[in-house]
């Protein structure tokens, strides 16, 4: 295949970024539109370049630049990489369309340039990560991706909250790079090959595998390494949140799958680890999302949940492969890959529409919204489709991929080991819980944000977003419907023998019944009146009497209070000695930030203690420093001699 098309398309993407940076001093809307046009054109060409790879199952090496020794910038494309590049490009195009309106909305002109330039390089780096042909290119593009997204997170650096989110993100992303670097070097040390498809030898397999899992898992937001995700996603501009949540997390999923394919034989423990981590992330992600009233943080917790679903699929794939149940293994892997695409579609859709809402109401707290369905109908309709898709309602795409996983779960009785089978069934129960909680959470998110009456003056004055900011989510909504209804036909066309129900007839039946009912109701000619309905005996309904997000999720939070470690404290004053009549009092409800207070902070404190101990050695005495240098050199010589 011709290698010029990929090269040109990447060059166009880079040019878009450079153009935005060149115009920092003279920011003008025309140049920004040109930049976005270039990004779109570049991504369309990327899609054109990867589609032949997908269809013809090609394997291409595209070496770009030879640096030194094994350090070559080299790209490699196969079906897996091409699939993920396709996902990135699709979402990237929609994000570019959305950004046309979004960047003009707020912030000073110079920052708009920064936003676009960084965005172009961010997309470029994500494609490069997935297309990496060797570990060197992988780490290099991984770092560009991390840094460009870090600068995007702190773009609005005036707010202390965003700076904190940025630092949190930077530390966690470097944490992930350390583990990746460690594993890459371990594999290189043992095989002498940097190639991304290097088969991992059995003796270093557990170490390398766990290193890769920690590295990629941090970026993907797997529990317990997920804490950066809600902070960073809510701090970043909405078009970037859409990209980060929709596709950046998927680059880590790509990494995990790539490493799994490099194993001669996947061990059973790996499958169990993935299944356990995936289920935990899925369930806890959605439970934390239910508590969240910050719209973007809520969506970010749902990203953790969906990454959990994908990793669960990978775990099932490993377990079924280990027991030689080919059909179910293929079904789980397809489910995981298909859910990666679907999550990219509906999550970026949700982040974009959330961006519209936040722009219109100047708040991220859903308790300050409400009534937006009448003021922003297009945004509301697209958000509703996204919410229905993420809640796995048939016939949309979220259900299409989750049913693949459900079907493989239901086949778990074919596993010969009773203990593993029972574990998989337990995981199925958790998976079902997660799925139902997600639906509850999105009833809350849509209901409180869009329905009933405005809960703040800003929400009452909200206006619909511009055409580009409603078109991009609408395209994604269309893709969500198409990917759901057409899923079974697509699998058949692609030659995958999967036992999944065809959702297209189901969708048509639903549509048909709605039409019949509509005609029937028209024939009934029932009179329609707009009036005040039952208002619980109050004189007038105001937004103060509406059900709140807190109230909505209260039953679930009470039921799951052991998870939240909710503590309720009450202080009461009494007017009489017998303590019968209450005069007043105070109540306090606190929830424990479990991961921060029990895992992260102790680690940080340990590091601080060690650091303080070490800092006493640093006393400014030259003799001491020379001695340290001597000891260090001697130790490294000894170690090297012993190691090699």
């Amino acid at each position: 295949m011709n290698t010029t098309l990929p090269a040109i398309s990447l060059a166009i993407l880079a040019a878009a970024g450079i153009l935005a940076f060149l115009r920092l001093a003279q920011p003008h809307a025309v140049w920004r539109r040109l930049s976005l046009l270039l990004i779109t054109a570049g991504l369309v060409m990327v899609i054109a370049a990867v589609i032949p790879v997908l269809i013809q199952d090609l394997r291409l090496h595209l070496p770009l630049y030879h640096l030194n020794g094994p350090l070559v910038i080299d790209f490699y494309l196969d079906r897996l990489a091409a699939f993920f590049i396709l996902v990135i490009s699709l979402v990237g195009i929609c994000a570019a369309v959305y950004s046309l309106g979004y960047v003009e909305q707020h912030m000073e002109p110079k920052r708009r340039q920064w936003l676009l330039g960084l965005m172009a390089f961010f997309i470029l780096a994500m494609i490069a990560v997935v297309a990496s042909g060797n570990y060197f290119t992988l780490i290099l593009s991984w770092e560009i991706m991390s840094l460009s997204s870090f600068f995007l997170v702190i773009l609005e650096r005036e707010q202390a909250e965003n700076r904190k989110a940025g630092i949190y993100y930077l530390v966690m992303t470097q944490f992930s790079t350390v583990f990746l670097l460690f594993s890459c070097l371990t594999v290189y040390h043992s095989t002498g090959s940097m190639d991304i498809t290097t088969s991992i030898p059995a003796n270093i397999m557990p170490v390398a595998l766990l290193g890769f899992l920690a590295g990629f898992g941090t970026k993907a937001g797997l529990m317990p390494l997920h804490k950066w995700l809600p902070y960073a996603h809510s701090a970043a501009p909405s078009n970037i949140s859409a990209l980060m949540s929709g596709v950046m997390l998927k680059t880590a999923i790509y990494g995990i799958i790539r490493i799994m394919l490099n194993l001669a034989a996947m061990p059973l423990w790996w499958g169990i680890v993935l299944l356990a981590l995936g289920t935990a992330s899925a369930v806890f992600g959605v439970i934390y999302a239910l508590k969240e009233h910050d719209l973007k943080k809520l969506l970010a917790y749902h990203s953790i949940e969906n990454i959990g679903i994908i990793v669960t699929g990978l775990g099932l794939y490993t377990i079924f492969t280990w027991y030689g149940i080919e059909l179910l293994a293929v079904m789980s892997l397809t489910g995981a890959l298909f859910h990666s695409l679907n999550h990219a579609l509906f999550k970026s859709l949700l982040f974009m529409t959330a961006g519209n809402v936040i722009n219109a109401t100047r708040s991220r707290n859903i308790e300050h919204m409400g009534g937006l369905v009448k003021r922003m109908p297009a945004t509301a309709a697209t958000f509703l489709i996204g919410a229905a898709a993420i809640s796995a309602l048939p016939p949309l795409n979220g259900f299409a991929s989750e049913i693949l996983l459900f079907q493989s779960y239901l086949g778990a009785f074919q596993i010969p080991s009773i203990f593993v089978a029972a574990g998989v069934f337990a995981s199925l129960a958790a998976f079902a819980l997660m799925s139902a909680l997600a639906a509850a959470c999105f009833v809350k998110a849509f209901g409180i944000t869009f329905l009933a009456m405005p809960r703040s003056p800003e929400a009452a004055l909200a206006r619909e977003a511009g055409w580009s900011m409603t078109t991009a989510p609408a395209i994604l909504a269309g893709l969500c419907i198409a990917a759901g209804a057409g899923s079974a036909r697509f699998f058949k066309w692609a030659g995958l023998e999967l036992t999944v129900p065809d959702l297209l007839p189901v969708g048509l039946i639903i549509l048909f019944v709605i039409c019949i009912l509509f005609v029937f109701m028209r024939l009934l000619k029932a009179p329609v009146r707009k009036a005040e309905t039952w208002n619980c005996g109050q004189t007038a309904i105001t937004s103060r009497t509406e059900y709140t997000a807190t109230g909505f999720s209260e039953p679930i939070i009470t039921i799951f209070s052991p998870v939240f470690r909710t503590q309720k404290k009450l202080w009461r004053n009494f007017t009489d000695a017998a303590e019968a009549v209450i005069r007043g009092g105070r109540a306090e409800i606190t929830t424990l930030k479990f991961f921060e207070e029990r895992i992260y902070l102790p680690l940080v404190r340990l590091a601080m203690t060690i650091g303080r101990k070490i800092s006493t050695w640093q006393n400014g005495d030259l003799d001491n420093f020379i001695m340290y240098a001597f000891i260090a050199i001697a130790a490294s010589i000894l170690l090297a001699g012993w190691w090699l």
Partner: protein, 312 residues
């Protein structure tokens, strides 16, 4: 080809037609248990006719969700009704009857009903939606594990395939189905908002869940909501009946068999309705936050089914 078309038309229509009858029987038996005479069993039909002639009132705050929800709700339930054969089994592999798809169609109907509850801005509807979504969330693992257990015992995920298996064998071939049946019965109680989970009779703030959500609906829209609720109840009853006692249902497309199937389903459904009514009458409503332990009983039975099947 003819048989599948007949199936797609006849099955939902039949379920639609009999569901008010079962609701009427339950009400009648409950009334008798309380020492009242009660309304005649065909009262729900008259109720629907009355509602279809009334006017629709929308709250000033209500949006298109309120207007769309009754249609969507009924459409989802009718789609689900094409998946549970009651009179005769469609030819193998011709209809999508996947059990997970069936469950998620019910979830979809609930999703839009809960949104409609929030739409008018009254705290009653919101409370109903919140409670309904919370209950359904903790009930979902029970439902899925029960379905997994049934799918495991009968070795298929298609509802039509399951019924074919039980129709060909007898309950003695699948003794563990009795255990799963206990869970299915509890799920039936949960999903149809009956005592001890919810009280379908009262309009008291303290007790109601489902009724609070549809409080804002009126006229033909309310009729549609009632119809879809009735379909849901009949479907879950049909699932339980045809897994345990499928005898009488026609195995293929023939007129005589279908007539027998229809009559026998009405009889079996009526018996089950009486059982439900007696069960309801003999229990008090459980406190809301005590409900998870009631659900755990069902989860226990379905897990036992899975464990038995794994061991033996």
């Amino acid at each position: 080809m003819v048989s599948i078309l007949v199936y797609y038309v006849l099955n939902p229509l039949f379920i639609l037609a009999v569901s008010p009858l079962f609701a009427g029987i339950i009400k009648k038996v409950k009334a008798l248990a309380q020492g009242r005479t009660g309304a005649p069993v065909w009262q729900p039909y008259l109720q629907l006719c009355k509602l279809f002639r009334k006017e629709i009132i929308y709250s000033d705050n209500a949006s298109f969700i309120m207007r769309l929800a009754p249609y969507l709700n009924t459409a989802f339930m009718v789609a689900a009704a094409t998946m549970v054969p009651v009179i005769f089994l469609p030819p193998e592999g011709s209809a999508a009857t996947n059990i997970i798809l069936f469950l998620y169609l019910m979830v979809s109907a609930r999703f839009f009903m809960a949104l409609a509850g929030l739409d008018a801005g009254s705290s009653f509807g919101g409370m109903g939606s919140s409670r309904e979504m919370s209950l359904s969330a903790i009930a979902e693992p029970v439902t899925i594990i029960t379905c997994a257990a049934v799918a495991f015992v009968l070795n298929t995920t298609g509802i039509a395939g399951m019924f074919a298996a039980t129709l060909a064998g007898s309950l003695l071939d699948f003794p563990t189905l009795l255990l799963a049946g206990v869970s299915l019965f509890i799920i039936l109680i949960i999903e149809t908002s009956r005592v001890p989970v919810d009280n379908p009779e009262t309009h008291l703030e303290l007790t109601m869940v489902h009724e609070a959500m549809v409080l804002e609906q009126s006229g033909p829209n309310l009729a549609l909501m009632e119809i879809s609720h009735g379909i849901k109840q009949t479907l879950l009853m049909a699932l339980l009946i045809n897994l345990l006692f499928p005898q009488g249902m026609a195995g293929d497309f023939n007129i005589a068999g279908m007539a027998v199937g229809a009559v026998s389903f009405i009889i079996k459904g009526s018996v089950l309705s009486i059982v439900i009514a007696i069960f309801e009458s003999s229990l008090a409503k459980i406190r809301f936050f005590r409900l998870p332990s009631f659900f755990m009983v069902a989860l226990f039975f379905s897990f036992i089914t899975v464990v038995f099947e794994l061991l033996f």
